[in-house]
């Protein structure tokens, strides 16, 4: 059996997926235009395009290019990165709940970034280093705790939930111990939001997104076989341990960089891969489709966060939690229906 034969799909399915890709691309484009056009200052679409090409009023250019464009572009990239991270961990753990939110990696990355903030730095490099370090440390801790009995199944999820709770308490203690200004900054950032994000994050996020995407593309064939079972994957030439460690590192870096930029945005990593799997009707994990779904999900959530109670702006993470709650309720009810 070759990799090609495992992942080959019938023509009708390929045609259907092509249509979904085109439709989702239009949705993404529509959300981007809405994000650039809608706001407390509503700007007509022609003026948006004029501003993007450096024409029009200075005020309009500042709003469109200076404020909204980074938010839209980074929102799409962060959503895609979160989804890719979630997809990687769901494959590694062979569990739809095996997302970095549930497993404690988000909380760990948050702890790392929080320590950097109370240490007095909010620079891009320091925050990223802190988040990546915290994420890797928490991932290592989770896998170390379950290593002696295997990393699959419910055990990993339970250990992850326990670590998330513990790190949540640690994070609260750190915030309470910090001074007023730092605690306030950390609390707002900790809700996960694109409200304050600006262009300084653009190079880091886009480079990580591209490199992470390439890494996932390279890992995807092996991960597709890995989903069939470790023994079968090994017999087809996959080295499971190396694959798991590499995928975990890529997943943690993708996640941690988003946390450094926007704080912990919940549920996108959990929900996007599963939604993509159902919409694209894919057997193996559809990584590219997950990234597209994550981008759409986060951009939609951010638009709601910015406009629902305007001029008050909700943290984007609050909206994704709401959407994630609906997703979990739907997933549980679907599971119940299947059991009957």
């Amino acid at each position: 059996m070759s990799i090609a034969s495992v992942i080959a799909v019938p023509f009708a399915t390929r045609r259907r997926r092509r249509i979904i890709w085109i439709a989702s691309s239009f949705v993404l484009l529509a959300l981007a235009i809405a994000g650039l056009s809608l706001g407390d200052a509503a700007i007509p679409v022609p003026d948006v395009f004029a501003a993007l090409f450096g024409r029009g009023e200075a005020g309009t250019r500042l709003i469109v290019v200076g404020w909204r464009l980074p938010r839209v572009v980074l929102g799409a990239a962060i959503g895609a990165m979160l989804a890719l991270s979630g997809a990687l961990f769901q494959v590694i753990t062979r569990n739809p709940l095996g997302s970095p939110d549930i497993l404690g990696f988000s909380a760990g990355a948050y702890t790392g970034a929080l320590l950097v903030i109370i240490g007095g730095s909010v620079s891009t490099v320091a925050l990223t280093a802190g988040a990546v370090g915290g994420g890797i440390a928490s991932a290592a801790l989770v896998f170390a705790l379950v290593a002696w009995r295997g990393a699959g199944g419910t055990r990993l999820i339970i250990v992850g939930i326990a670590l998330t709770a513990m790190l949540g308490a640690v994070n609260t203690m750190i915030e309470l111990a910090a001074d007023d200004v730092v605690a306030h900054t950390a609390a707002i950032w900790g809700a996960g939001s694109l409200n304050g994000i600006d262009g300084r994050w653009m190079p880091l996020i886009l480079i990580t997104f591209v490199l992470g995407g390439l890494a996932v593309a390279a890992l995807a064939p092996g991960l597709t076989l890995y989903e069939l079972g470790e023994d079968r994957a090994t017999s087809l030439g996959v080295r499971p341990v190396r694959l798991r460690i590499t995928a975990m590192l890529v997943g943690v870096v993708l996640l941690a960089v988003t946390i450094a930029a926007a704080g912990p945005i919940a549920f996108v990593a959990l929900a996007a891969p599963q939604i993509a799997r159902r919409v694209w009707r894919s057997g193996p994990m559809p990584f590219a489709a997950s990234a597209m779904t994550g981008a759409v999900l986060l951009m939609f959530s951010d638009l709601l966060a910015a406009r629902l109670f305007a001029p008050t702006m909700l943290p984007t993470g609050l909206v994704t939690i709401g959407i994630g709650g609906l997703y979990l309720a739907w997933m549980l009810s679907a599971a119940n229906r299947r059991r009957r």
Partner: protein
């Protein structure tokens, strides 16, 4: 959707003005000899350079459209007899403010919530100067605010240092005379009350408590907090021995578990707290007072717990607070 995408001409004009006017003003201010124009034209003399927490800022000498974006800042601008065109959304806490304060911000554009500024809404208000305090505005936010209008962020020595904070604001907004007048009036009143009720002040031990950060906690105003500063440093009211005088977090208060209320308020003979203008107390403060641990305190048994409405942010509200203290607390205690 078509309607949503189409801005009103007025909004477009306001937005353009919001961005372009400050840029022009800044450019004018940065030009050589801008402040010493020899032709006597108004343009050259229309700006001044003031110090702020994040460096020197060039602002209009007589601003007409002030945006106050930190929690206490609108009330501090109010004390300078200047209107504000934008403030954060106070809906959540509006019951705690007087009718005058509510009327003062009624027409102001709402530009986000505490700590979360909506930059576009702020630009739409077309301010010619933005003011706030460093406890809520970090440098990244300051940079973005400065794209909208000249932005002055003040700090003082700590959060409750309303004396320095209001002086810096008055300088930035060209209202130093009004500030000086309020200060003089306040000092006269403070000294008068301190002298008149010296016996009552000396005979009692004081505390200013409030709700805590969480259920099951209470808080104490520190001398670095706005009201604590007034009580301890200005009025010379002696705090109880169990009350902490300092905290590392700069918030101006400390939140403690209710279990510690006995030790913290031991020996305190007069308890001060906050109440709404209608005489009610916030439920979380009432919960502290109703707790069995509080009820065992001397101040609960003697009934010497007083709610004051004035929230101290500047010399005028400080004077209001002293007036309230006089009529609600010092006068009854002196009889």
């Amino acid at each position: 959707m078509e309607i949503l995408l189409r801005p009103s001409p007025r909004l477009r004009a306001v937005l353009a003005a919001a961005i372009i006017i400050p840029l022009v003003l800044t450019a004018t201010a940065c030009a050589p000899d801008a402040d010493s124009s020899s032709d006597g034209g108004a343009d050259g003399a229309d700006t001044i350079v003031v110090d702020s927490v994040y460096g020197e800022v060039t602002v209009p000498a007589s601003p007409e459209r002030v945006a106050a974006i930190s929690y206490d800042t609108p009330w501090q601008v109010m004390s300078l007899d200047l209107p504000v065109v934008a403030a954060i959304d106070y809906t959540q806490w509006i019951d705690g403010y007087t009718e005058d304060q509510q009327a003062y911000i009624a027409e102001a554009a709402k530009v986000g919530s505490y700590g979360e500024v909506n930059f576009e809404a702020l630009a739409g208000a077309a301010p010619d100067v933005i003011v706030g305090d460093a406890y809520e505005v970090d440098e990244a936010t300051f940079t973005r605010l400065s794209e909208i209008a000249p932005t002055v962020i003040v700090g003082g020595d700590d959060r409750g240092d309303w004396q320095s904070i209001t002086e810096d604001l008055a300088t930035a907004l060209g209202a130093h005379d009004t500030w000086e007048e309020a200060k003089t009036s306040y000092e006269a009143r403070r000294d008068e009350v301190k002298e008149q009720y010296a016996d009552v002040i000396a005979a009692n031990t004081w505390a200013n408590f409030s709700l805590g950060n969480e259920a099951g906690q209470f808080s104490i105003q520190l001398p670095g907090g706005s009201t604590g500063n007034l009580i301890v440093n200005e009025m010379g009211l002696a705090y109880g021995d169990g009350i902490p005088l300092d905290a590392d977090d700069g918030s101006g208060y400390v939140s403690l578990p209710l279990e510690q209320i006995g030790a913290t308020l031991a020996g305190v003979t007069v308890g001060l707290t906050y109440e709404n203008p209608d005489g009610t107390k916030m439920p979380a403060i009432q919960d502290v007072i109703d707790s069995s641990l509080f009820q065992q305190l001397e101040i609960a048994k003697t009934g010497q717990v007083y709610g004051l409405v004035s929230s101290v942010t500047d010399y005028r509200t400080a004077e209001d607070w002293i007036d309230e203290l006089t009529t609600k607390v010092l006068e009854p205690l002196s009889q």
